[in-house]
């Protein structure tokens, strides 16, 4: 057991900084409202460092406070799908050796989301931060379908091309549209009996691996993920699946 608390300048002081807006015109009373609100959240030693009007009927606050809460970090396990990534050359070699054919990867930004930045970073030849995208891999046949692709169109394309891997991207998260779209894709693949045949991954700035696994994906990749990290995961998971089927 190892209990951890926020650290300001002394171990276990529990210091946190908060900032929020209240829908009320600023006054001394608004500062007091902010202080009481933060106290109600369970914080102690609440200090409203800054409170001021930002529009009629709205005030912005910066608050420092301490929390008595702590967390046992020995009980937390979060898989990191991006660990120990191989290089493009290593991945190509591995595919050539183990699969003796090209792997087919199909990706898209699904639903009405028009942001290709995530899927492009992983798939486009150019890649991201000097790490080449999947299109550049000799042993990967990569199909980037772009943005605003319906889950039906993505599933259909994946079936036609006998995809080994499906990548679904979501950038817009307003009102849970990302989760709704990710869920719709899993459900469709299950209904079409395709889910077990592919490695299914999701990505986006707000995606976490935990969320992805809850939704029924093999893994999820967030902001800053490199193409080689995704490719490494795909190859390893496909190998695991192959062993499983063999046994």
């Amino acid at each position: 057991m190892r209990l951890v608390r926020p650290y300001g300048d002394t171990l276990d002081d529990g210091a946190v900084q908060l900032s929020f807006t209240l829908p009320m015109t600023w006054s001394e009373a608004a500062d007091e409202a902010a202080r009481r609100l933060v106290a109600k959240m369970g914080f102690t030693d609440v200090a409203v460092a800054d409170g001021r009007p930002i529009a009629s009927g709205f005030s912005l606050f910066v608050v420092y406070a301490r929390t008595p809460a702590s967390v046992d970090v020995s009980q937390i396990a979060a898989d990191v799908p991006t660990e120990h990534a191989l290089t493009m050359e290593e991945i190509d070699d591995l595919i050539r050796r183990e699969f003796r054919r090209k792997l087919v990867v199909v990706g898209a930004c699904i639903g009405t989301d028009a942001h290709t930045v995530g899927i492009d970073a992983i798939m486009n030849m150019k890649g991201y931060r000097g790490d080449y995208g999947l299109e550049r891999y000799r042993e990967i046949e990569a199909h980037n379908l772009g943005s605003q692709v319906s889950v039906e169109a993505l599933a259909r394309f994946a079936r036609e091309r006998r995809a080994d891997v499906i990548l679904a991207s979501q950038v817009v998260t307003q009102k849970g549209s990302d989760v709704a779209n990710f869920t719709a894709l899993v459900e469709l693949l299950e209904a079409e009996r395709m889910r077990e045949r592919v490695v299914l991954l999701c990505g986006g700035p707000r995606v976490t691996n935990l969320l992805a696994q809850e939704l029924g994906y093999d893994a999820g990749f967030g902001r800053g993920t490199l193409p080689s990290e995704v490719a490494t995961f795909c190859v390893r998971r496909l190998l695991e699946k192959a062993c499983h089927v063999g046994a």
């Binding site: 807006t21 930002i54 989301d113 492009d120 150019k126 605003q148 817009v172 307003q174």
Partner: protein, 531 residues
């Protein structure tokens, strides 16, 4: 701060842009699109929806086929008025619902239809001009303050929340408010109707939504003693209709690009070229400032490499806009602060690019976009990056300044995010107001060399585009590294060739304003002389 510019090279770039636009322009003048026709109907007073929320303008134009469509939609409304004596919107409704057929109007002489429409055309033009005069009077009485004009977005999905956020942002110092559209609207081949309260990543652009926010901002403008501008998006498949609605509801700016839809939304290029032209004719008359979308070249690829593409696109966008009758003062060419923050001297490269655009397009109200691509969940660093962007903007005299949000990578802005962003911009711009006037660019230094390089490369790119033709160049991945074919993309089926008798009364009424635009031949000869 002044860059030493190779003026002859700038003029060659302009001449190349003109040569690039010329053949496309011939194509434009021989074609129309379903969205251009719908925009005409809307300007003539056709509004509302039928059946399952289908706009009347769509229902009428969808029923037009072959030679009937090729002659333009306006004629049929005119013919209907001439034959029935009823107002335009009733004629349109009857045509939409099949109570009145095109067969029944087939024998109406075109001259008669034209005469019947004349008062409506005059009224439409008067209404657009009236809105423009209203804006001019408001700006006279309620000056909007110094540039760079601070521009923020609202994007809740619910127009009533947007209205509240827009007013709050205006009170916090915003001079321009953009209501971001729901993601996916650009691909709808109709404009939704009425006030809307649901959308993803933004709020649907509808005429009623325009009216709601414009009304709230007019009240706020009076209260604050400065006119607050409103912006939306004339892009996607309904570009001309949005331009029409914006003209009618006194929007002040529109995001409008001659190539964005082709490259980034896979909209058919012929559709986009024809649509952007008519949209910009309307914008020209309405006194609306367009914001072009060059920032997209930088968000989707490396910003250092793409700088020449931005400049080349600015030349092309400006040329198309001028050919639609827009004055330089209406052409808000785009650029963005998207260079990797880890790159040493990245700030110097940003300054070079921003100053280059400022000097090449001295009268254009340049639109400067904040960092987005390299923003992360680290809001503290993000706030600093925005401050550097603010500094670049004020020192290079940018005109329209989209304020960066420190929560860019996290969520659509909170009310408090906007206030902090505006505070950041006001602080930096005030403390460094005349910094740009006080410094000189070191000859042969990083900024000087960078500006020279970008201009040279832009000229090279324009030469390549001119030799391939614009449509061929887009197919050959000259822009944004994507290839689009002239026959591919969405909405191509909505483009049609004009017949001999094609009639667009609005185009006709607006065209006289074009006479003083497009000095293409003069530019070309000036370049020849310079050589």
């Amino acid at each position: 701060m002044e860059l030493r510019l190779d003026r002859a090279r700038v003029e060659r770039c302009r001449a190349l842009a003109s040569a690039i636009a010329e053949p496309v322009h011939r194509f434009i003048s021989e074609h129309s699109t379903v969205s251009v026709e719908r925009a005409v109907l809307r300007l003539l007073g056709v509004d509302g929806v039928v059946g399952d929320e289908v706009p009347v303008a769509n229902a009428v134009v969808d029923r037009l086929e072959g030679h009937r469509r090729a002659g333009g939609a306006a004629h049929w409304i005119g013919a209907g008025i001439a034959e029935t004596g009823r107002p335009a919107h009733e004629v349109a409704l009857d045509l939409a619902e099949g109570r009145l057929t095109f067969e029944a109007l087939e024998s109406t002489p075109r001259e008669m239809a034209r005469r019947a429409l004349e008062p409506l055309v005059r009224a439409a033009v008067a209404r657009v001009r009236g809105r423009r005069a209203e804006r001019e009077a408001l700006l006279e009485r309620l000056p909007q303050g110094e540039a760079p004009l601070l521009y923020v977005i609202v994007a809740s999905g619910n127009i009533y929340e947007d209205r509240l956020a827009a007013v709050a942002a205006a009170e916090a110092g915003a001079q321009i408010i953009a209501v971001i559209r729901s993601t996916g609207q650009s691909l709808l081949d109709y404009v939704p109707y009425g006030p809307t309260t649901e959308g993803f990543g933004g709020t649907y652009a509808t005429q009623e939504n325009f009216r709601i926010v414009r009304g709230a901002l007019d009240e706020a403008s009076e209260r604050l003693g400065r006119y607050v501008m409103l912006t939306n998006y004339a892009s996607g498949l309904c570009m001309p209709e949005i331009a029409a609605m914006a003209a009618l509801e006194r929007l002040d700016m529109l995001l409008n690009d001659s190539m964005y839809g082709i490259l980034f939304r896979d909209i058919n290029m012929k559709r986009t070229f024809v649509d952007q032209h008519f949209s910009r004719m309307l914008n020209a008359e309405a006194g609306i400032v367009i914001n072009t979308g060059e920032d997209n070249y930088l968000t989707t690829a490396d910003a250092v490499e793409q700088a020449p593409a931005v400049l080349a696109s600015q030349f092309v966008n400006a040329e198309f806009a001028r050919r639609a009758g827009m004055r330089d003062e209406q052409i808000g060419l785009g650029d963005a602060y998207e260079i990797d923050p880890d790159l040493e001297d990245g700030f110097l490269l940003q300054v070079a690019q921003a100053q280059l655009a400022r000097q090449i397009f001295p009268r254009a109200p340049l639109k400067y976009m904040p960092p987005t691509k390299h923003m992360t969940g680290n809001v503290f660093k993000g706030h600093l990056m925005d401050a550097m962007f603010n500094l670049t903007s004020v020192m290079t005299g940018q005109s329209i300044h989209l304020c960066g949000m420190m929560t860019e990578a996290i969520h659509t802005p909170f009310l408090g995010d906007r206030a902090l962003s505006l505070e950041n911009a006001r602080y930096v711009m005030n403390t460094a107001r005349h910094f740009g006037d006080e410094i000189a660019v070191k000859p042969g230094g990083v900024i000087d060399r960078r500006a020279r390089h970008v201009l040279e490369q832009a000229e090279r790119q324009l030469e390549r585009v001119a030799s391939l033709g614009l449509m061929g160049a887009i197919e050959a991945r000259c822009f944004a590294e994507v290839s689009r074919s002239p026959s591919g993309g969405r909405g191509g089926e909505g483009v049609f060739e004009r017949s001999e008798e094609y009639w667009n009364p609005l185009e006709e009424a607006l065209r006289p304003g074009l006479s003083d635009a497009v000095p293409a031949a003069a530019v070309v000869s000036a370049v020849a002389a310079a050589r």
